[in-house]
């Protein structure tokens, strides 16, 4: 018997591996959330007759076995390294450029972009208020010198230009182009290496440009340096897909700007930062306690400065690290994330007569998010 086993080692090895894998499924507790991938994993599906009949049970079961595979994180790392060994600088759609910068590759404009453009133009024509629109390019558009050779990518610049020229014919619209100020500061740390967001520094340059366009007096960096906090060891969303070696973690910076009150959805906070999040994988979620449909920031009353009363900000997660700066310029900032806000926007506008309006989105969000239609709902 032993002799026969020794003659067929592969059968033995594979059998043992499969047995261990089985034992793994049976014994280990399912992980609900994958921190390193920053997403929820599939749970064991319930067996139902209808699920069996239409095949959905099988599909879910499969996803479950895949996502709860023992040693999954290790295996994913192994794949990433194998890709690197082949000299590849791309894994799961994320490409490593120079100096450990990660970029998201986009070879084709999403169909959604056309719809989003139409929604914005429609909103501009019908809202009856003065609005400011700003689309922020992503790192791959600005940091061209960090891209790997021949990196295939669509031009975000022309995508933004296209929207702005469609909005040109509306007198009530002011379009804001941040690409000049970004290009000027492209050598600074304005985008995270491992995450799809701009850094707080990048957001500050965006803020300077906004102030210029809106006629506001920006707060100076010198004033803020005393409350600056740096958090090292931040690996972001790009890295959770890329997983390879040769990428340094980012440093996340925030300025502990006090506010009078911050209502995020139903919950009231006395500051803008959820510092608990600094201990988990997705540290960027510390800004503004993540994304909420409707939230309201009441800024600290300050003496002598002339602040405006209110801003309505339609935004994605890019704005989360920019909003603190805006508290120096507005008494109240009403923040709308259309992904989680489905009340008619015109009602909101009526409730906030006289407020400045700003639509601030990053290009990738503009390219793929499918909630822009909510701008013109019931309008």
């Amino acid at each position: 018997m032993l002799e026969r086993l020794r003659n067929n080692p592969l059968t033995i090895i594979i059998s043992i591996m499969i047995l261990l894998c089985f034992a793994g499924y049976l014994t280990h507790r399912d992980s609900v959330f994958s921190e390193s991938e920053n997403r929820y994993l599939a749970a064991r599906p319930k067996l139902t007759m209808s699920g069996l009949a239409d095949g959905s049970f099988m599909e879910q079961f499969e996803l479950y076995t895949e996502e709860q595979l023992p040693f999954r994180n290790l295996l994913i790392k192994l794949k990433a390294v194998t890709e690197q060994v082949q000299l590849k600088n791309e894994n799961n759609g994320i490409t490593r450029g120079k100096d450990g910068y990660l970029f998201e590759k986009l070879v084709k404009v999403n169909e959604q972009l056309g719809k989003n453009k139409a929604a914005m133009v429609n909103f501009a024509g019908k809202c009856g208020r003065d609005i400011n629109v700003c689309i922020v390019p992503n790192s791959c558009e600005i940091m061209k010198d960090k891209l790997p050779a021949g990196f295939p990518n669509i031009s975000q610049k022309s995508g933004i230009k296209d929207l702005y020229s469609a909005l040109l014919s509306y007198d009530n619209v002011n379009t804001i182009d941040v690409s000049d100020i970004f290009n000027e500061h492209r050598d600074e740390y304005i985008y995270y290496r491992t995450d799809h967001h701009w850094t707080t520094q990048g957001a500050y340059y965006g803020y300077l440009k906004l102030c210029e366009e809106l006629g506001l007096e920006p707060v100076s960096m010198d004033m803020l340096s005393g409350i600056r906090k740096d958090v090292p060891g931040f690996y972001g969303t790009y890295y959770s897909k890329y997983k390879g070696y040769g990428v340094e973690p980012d440093v996340l910076t925030y300025y502990d700007i006090p506010v009078a009150d911050y209502e995020a959805g139903e919950v009231s906070h006395d500051r803008l930062y959820d510092t608990d999040k600094l201990r988990v994988y997705d540290k960027y979620a510390m800004f503004m306690y993540g994304n909420e449909g409707l939230s309201t920031v009441k800024s600290m009353p300050s003496e002598g400065e002339d602040k405006r009363s209110e801003l309505i900000l339609f935004k994605d997660s890019y704005s989360n690290c920019l909003i603190p700066f805006l508290t120096f310029n507005y008494d109240t900032i009403t923040v709308i994330d259309l992904r989680y806000y489905d009340r008619p926007v015109n009602e909101l506008l009526k409730e906030h007569e006289g407020a400045d309006i700003l639509l601030l989105y990053n290009f990738m969000h503009y390219n793929e998010d499918n909630h822009f239609y909510r701008l013109v709902k019931n309008l």
Binding site: M58, N89, K108
Partner: protein, 446 residues
């Protein structure tokens, strides 16, 4: 799957077929429960047709009605589920009628299992095989899970003896497992990686391709389809071995061919074998004069193309090979024999162009792609793609040139090398499957 194997190995020979049959049905039903019925009906119809043919033979009665009945059913089923919408579309386009499409999806593996079962009734009619009295055994033959989905096409006579009794030895299992892992590696590590490049070109659209990119894309697809298909076949043959069956070889280094004639002797051998045996020869083969022979070949290649998919580009693909084969017979072949280098370049180009016909079903897009091969100009994107796909494509080229086989033959006996290498491939495959952002690997489960 491991549970299945344990049960299968434990039960006595008598029960092995029923375990295999049920296991296969579960495997099939897992992916597509609603078409289990179709598979079941197909087994029943052909089983009873087989009995009728047998009875008619013994009583010297009319054999043909049962045969024709079974064939009409088999082909009709294939026609309905695979081709009906193609014909509706074309009739609508030509006659301007407004027939509505039938809402069906292609049942998994129908092209394969229909051909397999047809081989049984035809061979029975010809007296080449004996009637199968056990519906379990016939069912087992037809839907044995290793080859149900993607071949090889195993004709009944290949396995009729093994169906009744087979010996499974541990060393066969070991050999089968080796083949299986090599096939899995072909599919997961090479075909899927190369396929990602092709997929990307598809999403970007062909109209802006530079010429080098278009050539690289053609190479990637050529590599993908071979490693994909051959990978499946190897897995099937390996699993077959583990179950005690010996399935026929399906690929014999097709990309080393020096002519298209040779290529079709090496590519998907069980399919070309089937067409020869059950279509070309019944049509009269080459025995009815040269004109009839050309006509027969035309039919065979037309249907070969059509078998691969219900679209004009597949028909075009089949006829493209018909034309090349005719040209080779007419003298091109003799010319090539004298010029090995030219012959090799010609064959590879012909195969590559063929795959473009195969891959792009919109004929206008096909035209765009082919034109970009020559007038696409140059852009530096090629650098990026070579960096990201160069190694895997080079590996694909080397392995498909037969280098891999030679290397493997040399180290085959050195267990200290082979076993770690194969285990490593297996682990890597699991890793790639675990992190599957692009994984067209739908119907294989552990």
């Amino acid at each position: 799957m491991p549970v299945f194997f344990i049960v299968y190995y434990l039960v006595p020979m008598k029960l092995k077929n029923i375990v295999l049959f049920i296991g296969s049905l579960i495997f099939y039903g897992w992916g597509e429960p609603k078409y289990l019925i179709l598979l079941g009906v197909s087994i029943l119809v052909n089983y009873f047709a087989g009995r009728l043919i047998d009875r008619a033979k013994r009583r010297n009665g009319a054999v043909r009605p049962a045969l024709i009945g079974a064939l009409v059913f088999d082909i009709g089923m294939l026609f309905f589920f695979k081709y009906i919408n193609f014909f509706i579309d074309n009739i609508n386009a030509v006659a301007g009628t407004g027939l509505s499409r039938v809402d069906i999806t292609l049942p998994l593996g129908i092209s394969f299992y229909t051909f397999q079962i047809m081989s049984y009734v035809i061979d029975l009619y010809r007296g080449k095989v004996k009637v199968e009295n056990s519906i379990i055994d016939l069912g087992t033959y037809l839907c044995m899970f290793p080859q149900l989905i993607a071949g090889p096409i195993v004709v009944y006579s290949d396995v009729s003896e093994a169906l009744k009794s087979r010996v499974i030895s541990l060393s066969e299992v070991e050999e089968g497992l080796k083949l299986f892992i090599l096939g899995l590696g072909s599919k997961v590590l090479i075909a899927n990686s190369a396929g990602a490049l092709w997929k990307e070109l598809e999403t970007t659209g062909y109209s802006s391709l530079s010429s080098p990119m278009a050539w690289l894309g053609m190479l990637a697809y050529t590599i993908q389809i071979y490693f994909d298909f051959n990978g499946y076949s190897m897995m099937a043959i390996g699993l077959g071995k583990m179950l005690g069956f010996k399935f026929p070889k399906n690929f014999d280094l097709p990309y080393t061919s020096l002519s298209i004639t040779e290529y079709w002797r090496r590519w998907h051998m069980t399919l070309s074998g089937w067409f020869k045996e059950y279509l070309y020869i019944p049509l009269g083969g080459n025995r009815r004069g040269p004109v009839r022979k050309v006509f027969n070949l035309f039919i065979v290649w037309f249907i070969t193309g059509f078998w691969h998919g219900a679209d004009w580009n597949f028909i075009l693909w089949g006829l493209y090979f018909f034309v090349l084969l005719m040209a080779e017979r007419a003298g091109l072949g003799r010319f090539m024999e004298g010029n090995k280098v030219i012959a090799r370049i010609y064959s590879l180009l012909a195969i590559g162009f063929g795959w473009m016909l195969f891959a792009i079903s919109d004929l206008r897009q096909l035209g765009v792609y082919l034109s970009r091969l020559f007038i696409g100009g140059v852009s530096n994107e090629i650098l990026y793609y070579i960096r990201n796909y160069g190694v895997i494509l080079l590996l694909g080229c080397l392995l498909s040139s037969g280098l891999g086989n030679r290397l493997y033959d040399r180290i085959k006996e050195r267990r200290l090398i082979v076993i770690p290498v194969l285990t490593g491939i297996f682990v890597l495959c699991i890793a790639y499957l675990a992190d599957a952002s692009y994984n067209p690997f739908l119907y294989f489960r552990f």
